[in-house]
Amino acid sequence: MNYSFTKEKLISASKEDLLHTIRQLQEENARLKAEKDEAQEALALAEASTAYIKAELQDVNFVFKEILESSMAGYWDWHMVEDYEYLSPTFKKMFGYEDDELINHPSSWQKLIFQEDIPVVFGKFQEHVASRGKVPFDSVARYRHKDGRTVWVYCRGRVVRWGKDGSPERIVGSHIDISVLKEVEAELKAYNVKVNELNDELARKAQLLEVSNAELERFVYSVAHDLRSPVRHISSFSQLLTRRAAHKLSELEKGLLDNIITSINRLGQLIDELLEYARMGNKELNYEEVSLDKIVKRCLHTLGYMMQGREIELKVENLPTIWADELMMEQVFLNLLSNAIKYTGREELAEIKVVGRETPTAYEIVVEDNGAGFDMSYQHKLFAIFQRLHDVDEFEGVGVGLANVQRIIQRHEGTIWAYGEEDKGARFHFTIPKKEV
């Protein structure tokens, strides 16, 4: 609307016009007043909202700080342009300082951090900046506590305001004390080192033991072998003497010579078995398919001389074909069967059973007899070398057989055990693990 009044217009205007104009002006005035009221109302509302939002924000801030403080995490807020960094009380407490003991400035923590850790932290920060915040900023650094100890801190932060040129202007983040974790980690590491050391030590000792065992066996072998010749000579010459001079000797003298021969032959047998024992330890296992049924039959044939004139009920059942060293398995059965035949020598009717069983992982063989048996309280001596549970006069033998059997079974990764009762019989069990052919 044009409110310019000219002389000409005033003159030409009628009273009506004037009144009209006044009315218009009055209306306009009222409208403007209403607009002003409206605006004032809106402003009041806006002020109220702002206050409310401010209060809300303060609350959020309070809660946020509470959470951080209660989680024992320190909080920092670095305004780079203003060269100011807020450091929360917990942040300072982590290093042993009260809130007023450290100023809110980056120099506060830069004095406490281990100088050699600064490049790591800044490197991480550069990555974060270079990626415009895509690569998170987190790092682990050591700080010096007021009392001198080291505090391990896990720091995580984020640029929250960027300058127009892409430089960071404000960064916020948190500090978490991970010293305890680091201690545990160090302890664990030390523990692992110790465990590894112990393992190495154990392996070394096992190896030494193996070497010394092998040496011992070689020694036993060579000693036994060297003993064999003189023993053989004593035996042979005593026998020749008996044969050639018998007519010149009294019965007593012949008896004395006989004792020499018996003793020396026993020594010879002992040496032979010792040699066999040492050989079984040194020999490499030659795995092949072995029919135990065939082996048992062969052994019984070999041992036929022991069974002559005897009443023996033999039962051979369900013997498997296994993966083993054939010669060694033959040794096992020769020993167990000859024992069974020997120790049933006093029975009118000897019963000897050889039975096979199968488990998912192994074959189990049981050799059972109804002979002299043994006292279970001497069980531990049963498989020990040179240990005998019966008098030589009662049942001959030198005490190597079962030691050898056990060693062969063990070398096949199997186990052997036995049950017995005096004058009731003995039962030997052994297992040989199934092997992939």
Binding site: R232, H233, F237, Q239, L240, R279
Partner: protein
């Protein structure tokens, strides 16, 4: 009647030599027993006299200087075409020894029995078989 060939005993133990001698005396084997103390003596003998007078060689394994196995190895290396039997007579029962000896051309491997009577019997059986039963080419 043809001249009886000699039995060559290569043995370092004088006791074993005596045992073999006694066993031979107690038998009706007529062949002469010639005793050499070790492998070197055997090689020297063979170099000097050849094989023509020998029925068979009975040799111990464990001897000073050249062992039985060394002798077998030398003979093989020298490319000797040996047509007379070599019997190893040893106290070793090591399967590896037995194997090696056969691989190197031994004709038999016999373990010295511990029992004196058995020892004598074994020597007599060996002498009887290898000197009188077994046949070798006439020109060896």
């Amino acid at each position: 009647m043809a001249i009886l060939r000699k039995i060559l005993l290569v043995e370092d133990s004088k006791f074993d030599v005596q045992l073999v001698k006694l066993a031979m005396e107690d038998s009706n084997i007529q062949n002469e027993l010639m005793c050499l103390k070790n492998g070197s003596e055997l090689l020297e003998y063979l170099q000097a006299y050849g094989y023509s007078e020998i029925a068979f060689i009975m040799m111990d394994l464990n001897m000073p200087k050249l062992s039985g196995i060394d002798v077998l190895q030398r003979l093989q290396e020298m490319g000797h075409k040996i047509n007379i039997p070599i019997i190893i007579f040893s106290s070793s029962q090591q399967p590896s020894d037995v194997e090696t000896c056969y691989r190197l051309g031994a004709n038999a491997y016999v373990v010295k029995p511990v029992d004196g009577i058995e020892f004598a019997n074994t020597v007599q059986t060996l002498a009887q078989f290898w000197a009188n039963v077994n046949i070798i080419p006439p020109n060896s």
